[in-house]
Point group: D2
Chain length 401, copies 4
């Protein structure tokens, strides 16, 4: 256990060299709009992200022992030192998933703590840890209804081994910070699969002007959804161009494959994977633009369109759940008196809609570009999206010269 | 037609002597909370109400000719001379009804014109009139999504005769004013039936203090719902005490009754009415307390509880639709720049919840107390709630001394 | 008036030669999935469509006199001779619009009459006509809560002249039939603008198999939304390729242009149009696959993704409202006893999601391909999407060879 | 730990003598409708309930050590031996609470496991246990999105001590059975406060006939909401009659009271309690009547009216969350093919609405009647509703002779 926590804290330390693979814009893939300096959710002032990454073991699955490919992501809307609530709202494109705490977000229009993301079966452990975190923050504390979301990392991870502990969640919270956000196989996104390539954690941001004032909207996704056939990048049918490299089972030390289809040396990958639709995507959208809760619901709903442009359909087994919050209006959650607020009028909200759509798409792509091929439980292997073949496909369809 | 309009304008003139029957508090019926000076929705500063009442003909129904027992109610959130939008939200307890315009209220959090109420089959005419009203208001006008609600006055009124015209709706709008609001058989409530007694238009208000500041919440109902058996006043099972006086058919001039059950002289009324559940209730809640749209949805939802305490169940054939708006924040709907707003924190919102529940219950009771027995199409008769027997029932159950 | 009705009936007669312009598939534009024989909503057995098209006058706008560029579309789920309700549900991507009747659709899970679509300010007239239609259908009739949707045809049409009458709506209902559905400048879609090209009425369908059984899903859109910049066809950034041909004002007989920007001979079109976002899209999705109401809501929600792939953002001024119904389960709306039903399990619903997305996109494109350049009020002109330049753009991006 | 589990199992064993206090009907308190033989949720065939009750320690609160006054309730829709999903839906009157799993209930219309109820800060532990339970049930198991609800037992229980473990939840699941359901200070309801009297677990049921067929609807509540002033029983203002007996602090062994107000010997109780609104209520409604998911949402919504009649307002700090399911249609959740279903038509659904309202009210009252005075952390004492004074109040208001 001690080892695990150390790993977690290490991961949470955001090693400078963590991400060597180029991101979408570095590859020249066309993206609408102007990103913030980090092109990350942390471009929104105050937002901090913490990641606990758990990678341990290999080979045959022994429930409770591993292999482990999972983690926890913590997003603190105003950072660790400012617990004031933010206006928030949520939306579901397809609800085969969990985001706890949303009933109170919907009712109150407020989010009073961090947004946590982990694997499906670790929601309980992370929920308990987040309550403990809240209890530890305040003597005046009364009750806590934490927001904990999940996607399923089953094929790669020993998900029924319940390897995420309260300590791992606490480490993600304790390690939260601003700055660049590691992407790919990190945090809650460690064991994720997206469009049947390796998915994971991704982020992006947009800067824009409303009524002469500059604002930022940032997105963080935990990307684990989608089939290959409809996968699209910048409008190009990349999924039709890269039909191989599907998830497959690499031979175990005894030469067996625990399942089929086996990875094929000749094809560089399997010919077919398990159900392409065992997936989900969590999208967290942060902005410093002053929006009221009912306006934030409109922002959250736009994440659907960002997923749709990548080829997502909100498949039946997908938990496509989105939460949007605004760090403006620090006094939003006063407990008495009159609250003084500001808001952007509906009539000028379209730049935020575009930012939400575009940053969601780019965060998905960044997650896939950063994620490296992973082999997990029973030799199950999910291939990284090959940059060279992606570029080739985009060239074929005139999107890169 | 000219006669009808004259009648309408007459009705809209709010004759001082229009309401001779005592209201709930005048009868000593216990009601929680403190009302405003008028105990009406117009206690909320700026709110104006206009009523067109159409009562014409008697005897056998001849479709298109009458008898006519119907009307139009217009509620202008800031009055006729202030067209600025108000924050608003809506809720449905049981949706067998119509309130147009709610899709944009839900999306924008704003209500940009009057709230109109009429009979079910006159929604179209009133909708058209309300668009015309908006077009006439503004040169800069672009489009209009009016809020028009309805309840069904079929048994009393020749509803399929479409007697409400655009002119009638225009008259209700033109006649809107502050001050005392006529109740009972007036406006859209003219031909309504409530708990199988005569229903109609009713209103009430509450004053209360939040964080040391005084506010008002007012309610107007168009009351047309509910069976007799569960009818309850101040907790007393009045419906069990007054089992007779059900709707019935009075003999026509030729001695026939167009339908059954016939009104019985001996019983003072019929023994059974048509389906007790052919009804609906529209509740409009206005407040000057500064609430954001998501908070107004909470207010609208509380109307359910006010109906429930009267014995309502939200029956399957009932359109129980509620709209709440706040006249605070006059700049809510700016079209550019930053909007400066105030809001009451959630933590001190309970007085508004209580006001919404209590004023809804009292407005229903006021509608029934004001309404007089009406005989309409085919001799269909709906009896007024008899004040003496109501008082007797309340005495029996210890609610009046 | 008589002339107008004759025009309407003429239009409703679906002249065989009405549509000479090729549709998306005829142009070789790649579309996912397999359409039904008509590639229309009428591929779903029983569905009938009626259209009233009103085109009259030219030149300077004289309110109440024209020019007129508008109409009415009627969709009868089981055709004119079968009034049994269908299971139904609705969804809103952006609610700056109207679809009456949805409160009861949401509550009951049932749609009991036609779906009507017209212009924003004619909702009242069409609502009244649809009530009259229902009254005329049944002696047992009690009340009607019609579904009437709208989009705004203001710049082309004298929308505040209220040229759509009850008779026009009645004509659309009376003229409803199966078979091929005219597209483009017809019915409620007559005066519509889509991605700043001429929009209107469009349709498409998909056939697919679930658990070995063949089903069809059909879509009809009234397309009036979207800016040019993000307009995308089959993934190609067509809006970036065709930046001219924006809506403009053609000179009036006196040489003036009633507004700016004026159409420029040299550019073949205006340099800029009015607010690109004065729009909306209504999507009606029909299927013969047996789905329950909560499943139909999932189908309706997928229309968002079809719009998103075309470049739609659900802009603030857009009323993007979708209704889905299933013609299976003819006994869905029994009024007593036990209803025997069938339904497709959620686990095999994905083909319907894909069909809903793909048929929505294709119906939008078909609307734009069929619509011809229209010049309306004050010389306002909206250009047709030029087929040749569209093809060129698709070639450039490798989508057509 | 072992001791605790033993206690839990003991509690889960439903000792026959557990409930010695009479229930509402035994006291002659008028209740509408006809209950099932047990007047419990278990009157719905197949429904099983398991309870783990944790009562340990007394005196001063030492976080992590106690005193402990909490527990877990498990409701298995088809019992422990039938894991087929049920149609389900949910509704929130006021959302200051948690019910996990509802996103998928809403999307799918299905509930695939037990409904668990515990204290607010033990949601995580119970969530984890319920996932483990699901994993243990099935080799084919893929993922689990458990339904775990909560109310807050903070003043009585060392809620931040996290005394509920996975084992306690497992014990509640393992101990689930049909038959009479213990009420009052048991299960998740152990430490609850209702209308400022001792609350807890309560249940009731109704039998009724629809289209000639008999059905049952049962309710289980975890009752922890409401102020005293509005508390009403059978219409009588009981809260006004019993103004004393408010929660108070009994002297600790050292003679101090950890907080104020101290329990007063003379008044038989404290003069004022903490915020009357620190509460919530979970309502689970089960029926064997065949209802579709959208109809079950209607049932769930009616729980609001049952709470309203008791004097509830859905206060801001209350998590009033309701879930309804139908045990009919055992094949509802097939994964392929066509599902054959039955459903009750909307037109005959009113008896279910009445049953839902009435059984909710009665279950609340039963919870309060069964609960005995409890003294917990820091001497905090919540008084039982005194039967004699309740009867006296009902006599005063003519509800009992």
């Amino acid at each position: 256990m001690r080892t695990l926590i150390s790993l977690a804290l290490l991961a949470a330390a955001f090693p400078a060299a963590a991400q060597s693979r180029p991101r979408a814009r570095e590859l020249g893939i066309p993206q609408a709009g102007t990103p913030g300096p980090l092109n990350a959710i942390t471009d929104v002032a105050g937002v901090e992200v913490g990641l606990t990454t758990l990678i341990r073991g290999a080979g045959k699955l022994v429930p409770g022992q591993g292999p482990v490919r999972t983690g926890v992501t913590a997003i603190l809307p105003r950072g660790r030192n400012d617990d004031r609530s933010v206006f928030a709202a949520w939306f579901t494109l397809n609800g085969n998933g969990e985001m706890t705490g949303t009933t109170w977000v919907e009712e109150s229009g407020l989010l009073g703590g961090p947004v946590m993301i982990t694997n499906t079966h670790s929601v309980g452990a992370v929920h308990a840890a987040t309550v403990e975190y809240a209890v530890g923050k305040s003597q005046d504390f009364t009750w806590s209804l934490p927001v904990v979301a999940e996607t399923w990392d089953g094929p790669l991870n020993d998900i029924n081994g319940f390897h995420v502990t309260r300590e791992h969640a606490a480490a993600a919270l304790a390690g939260a910070r601003g700055g660049a956000v590691p992407e790919g196989n990190v945090g809650g996104g460690t064991g994720m699969t997206c469009h049947q390539f390796k998915g994971g954690t991704g982020t992006s941001s947009r800067r824009f002007t409303v009524s002469g004032r500059p604002y930022t909207l940032g997105v963080l996704v935990q990307c684990n959804y989608g089939g290959r056939a409809r996968f699209s990048v910048a409008g190009a049918p990349v999924g039709e161009e890269i039909r191989d490299l599907l998830p497959c089972y690499a031979p175990l030390p005894d030469g067996s494959t625990a399942g089929r289809p086996a990875c094929s040396a000749s094809s560089g990958g399997g010919d077919a994977g398990p159900d392409a639709d065992l997936g989900s995507i969590i999208v967290v959208l942060a902005t410093d633009a002053p929006l009221l809760p009912h306006q934030l619901k409109r922002i959250a709903r736009r994440a659907s369109l960002g997923i749709g442009r990548m080829g997502g359909i909100g498949g039946n087994s997908s938990g496509d759940i989105f939460l949007a919050f605004s760090t403006a209006n620090p006094g939003a959650a006063a407990d008495t008196g009159l609250v003084a607020l500001t808001a952007i009028p509906n009539d000028v909200i379209n730049p935020l809609f575009e930012a939400a759509i575009d940053a969601t798409s780019e965060a998905i792509l960044n997650a896939m570009l950063a994620a490296e091929t992973m082999t997990g439980a029973n030799g199950y292997r999910v291939h990284a999206l090959p940059h060279d073949r992606l570029i080739a496909a985009l060239r074929k369809y005139g999107r890169i010269k």
